[in-house]
Assembly symmetry: C2
DNA sequence: GCATCATTATGATGTAGGTCATAAAATATT
DNA sequence: AATATTTTATGACCTACATCATAATGATGC
């Protein structure tokens, strides 16, 4: 999102996080801006029974967890490294200074927040009123547009495990497995070698 | 959000919308920035069976539907006047010009988007993994902080009909009615004269 | 090359919340 | 004041998805 050179002018610090390491936790106050240099990060919530819901996955060059920096609020979810990852972070004060001093960055930040809000609006409507199959198709079509899924012979390869699909749609693995099989029969997608193509 | 005088410098136009009138529809391209002078607006989606999901209610001085203006995307939901309302709107081109020329407005826009993204993150996790009672309590607590609900003797008056509570949480009216009665028994809220207090 | 763990898979059973029907109370409209 | 509409309410029944059990397949590590 933001140029690394720019972040470095505001005393950015690099740090390595190991797979499964927690970056920040729900209900804590936001103290830093985080951007991914390499690796993958997910933001998630757990309900009272320990069931996980994934707010989203974040990849190289993307930032995450900024909203609370702009509000007097805590994080709405946890952030965890999905694989070994290198992050670059800037303190809240420096980050707000960076934004204030660089209007061009504000615009980037607006576009970024707008994109995420758009995704959440679409998925919120799906999750609350649509059935399992519909939710999954929506997730796939959205993921194709947002993540860097590759077009192969069979179509776009939806590079997510059944479990992750469930975590992103609020469904259980078994339901996902059954739903995508039905969708295959209906011709909405293809399953080749256990991989899902749309 | 944005000062009316500022909007007028960019050729803002005022317009009255009658109760139930549609302001814009899902899947259309965004052409204007909208801000409420008076009245109430809701953004909603309908699933295949015509069931409604309310993305949010918007009141005086608030704006809505900006994300697609910053992206090359269509609206993720419809916007409808809940009561007779007066809106002020600015064309997309003028709005982007306004943002570019007024860095202070960018910051306001960032805070605004951040707040809505925060709300959606909290509700997404609730809706996808938590039970009816939990979802409703979360909605109430969030609404108290965001909307202008008043503190009365019995507590904060949750000024939403059962139907609206359902539309915002993806639950049916009957489920809402039953859940809030159980919550009253559990002492989580009070119901006096059919009004809900928390 | 074997052990461990993650992922995909399938069947049986359970349950929260949806659906449908019906009605009383409150509010809006004429 | 009479009528229509909306909101709150309750009971009976139904269904989509969750849960639990069990296993085969594939990936990762030592």
């Amino acid at each position: 999102m933001i140029q690394i050179e720019m972040l470095e002018k505001y005393d950015a610090v690099r740090r390595l996080y190991k797979k499964s390491e927690i970056i920040f936790e729900k209900d804590n106050f936001a103290t830093h801006y985080y951007q991914i240099i390499s690796g993958t990060v997910k933001m998630n919530n757990f309900n009272d029974e320990g069931r996980e819901f994934v707010q989203g996955f974040f990849y190289e060059k993307q930032c995450f967890g900024e909203p609370p920096l702009f509000l007097e609020r805590t994080y709405p979810a946890n952030a965890e490294a999905v694989e070994d990852s290198e992050l670059i972070c800037v303190s809240k004060a420096n980050f707000l200074k960076l934004i204030a001093e660089n209007p061009a960055v504000s615009i980037i930040m607006i576009e970024n927040l707008a994109r995420r809000l758009h995704y959440k609006s679409v998925m919120a409507a799906e999750i609350s009123t649509q059935d399992a199959e519909h939710r999954l198709l929506q997730l796939f079509d959205y993921s194709i547009a947002y993540f860097n899924f590759k077009k192969e012979q069979e179509g776009f390869h939806i590079d997510l495990t059944r479990q992750k699909m469930g975590d992103l749609t609020g469904l259980r693995v078994e339901t996902v497995i059954r739903a995508i099989k039905t969708l295959e029969k209906k011709g909405e997608l293809k399953i080749v070698n256990r991989k899902v193509y749309r």
